[in-house]
Amino acid sequence: MFKPLLFTALLLPAAAFAECEPVVVGDLSVSAPWSRATIGASRPAVFYVTITNSGSEDDALTNIASPVAGMPMLHETVVKDGIASMPHAMSIPVPAGETMRLAPGSYHGMLMDLTGAQKEGDSFPVTLSFQNGGDVTIDVPVLSLRAEEAECAAAP
């Protein structure tokens, strides 16, 4: 009883740490990606992530791509007069020295035309294209349909 527990305790933080490592390209740090499990393949999956721009030049996320989605798009949830809509975001600003979070109820990636259902515990790669910073690919863990936030802390 004691030994497996100890083993798990030793193993877990190390594994979590490895998965939670931010992907750094130039001045951009991409961290805490996550998605929710989908029911079947016909519904869109969602993509959330945190992007920090530590440089002195503004950047913008202009596109996302993933082998699991035929039609990935950037969207923003806007609630106006109590009505929620999801306009397509042509690009998402990542100003110099600031952190932009794609998060529930705000900017998010919408992955349509999925190749298959995304199950909890799976992961898939997403490539983020930035106006100046080039492309960044990160592995996105699929969390429960009921998840509220990333399991990994966002990079500072």
């Binding site: 929710r36 029911i39 016909s42 519904r43 869109p44 999956a45 969602v46 039609m71 969207h75 949830t77 609630v79 109590g82 009505i83 929620a84 809509s85 999801m86 529930p104 109820g105 998010h108 919408m110 349509m112 035309d113 349909l145 009921r146 998840a147 509220e148």
Partner: protein, 197 residues
């Protein structure tokens, strides 16, 4: 609001019984504001829940009720709302057992009872999910003062814009308030508790 407090205060001095009667009469007056949901007792719609049972607003008069509109193809707002509601139910504890919680779809074309059962099964088992013929959904939305709109997307796909708030009704069906989508969750549970008093 001040008038209501005054009425309540005066009635309170008369006696608990008088207070309850007075407040009951005050509350049962029809809501005149066309922007606010009708009392459940004045609504007229017939929908089907995810288990196949017929539901009408008059079935809900014995308990406090929490209703929101959404659709299962919705990637962001609806799962977020469902997860929020779950956290409120957890905070309410066993009290929440005497609360009716229902999602009404604005996308009956795709959200059949079977599809809803599949979806709502991932969330708190106390939640109901309702669908029905498009005209009945429209009648329900009208009664709740909910707006929704189909937004075509590429390749024949579509999404829905819809009112995102969560509606609260007291036992007896009078409208008690709305929890807005971006509202601080610390305010949500006290609002629900007040509706359940």
């Amino acid at each position: 609001m001040r008038r209501r407090t005054l009425i309540g205060g005066l009635a309170g001095t008369v006696g608990a019984m008088g207070f309850m009667l007075g407040l009951g009469a005050w509350r049962s007056r029809p809501v005149a504001d066309p922007k606010l949901p009708l009392p459940l007792s004045q609504m007229d719609w017939t929908l089907t829940d995810h288990l196949g049972a017929t539901v009408q607003p008059q079935d809900w008069l014995n308990l406090p009720v929490m209703v929101f509109f959404g659709f299962t193809w919705c990637p962001d707002v609806c799962p977020t709302t469902l997860v929020d509601i779950e956290s409120w139910l957890v905070e309410l504890g066993p009290e929440a057992d005497r609360l009716i919680v229902a999602l009404i779809t604005v996308d009956p074309e795709r959200d059949t009872p079977e599809v809803l059962a599949d979806y709502i099964g991932y969330f708190d088992p106390r939640m109901l999910a309702l669908t029905g013929p498009a005209p009945e959904i429209a009648k329900a939305a009208e009664a709740f003062r909910v707006r929704y709109e189909k937004i075509p997307q590429d390749e024949g796909d579509y999404t829905m814009n819809h009112t995102a708030g969560v509606f609260l009704f007291r036992r007896g069906g009078s409208f008690a308030g709305i929890i807005d989508f971006h509202e601080d969750r610390r305010f949500a549970v006290p609002k629900i508790r007040r509706a359940m008093e």
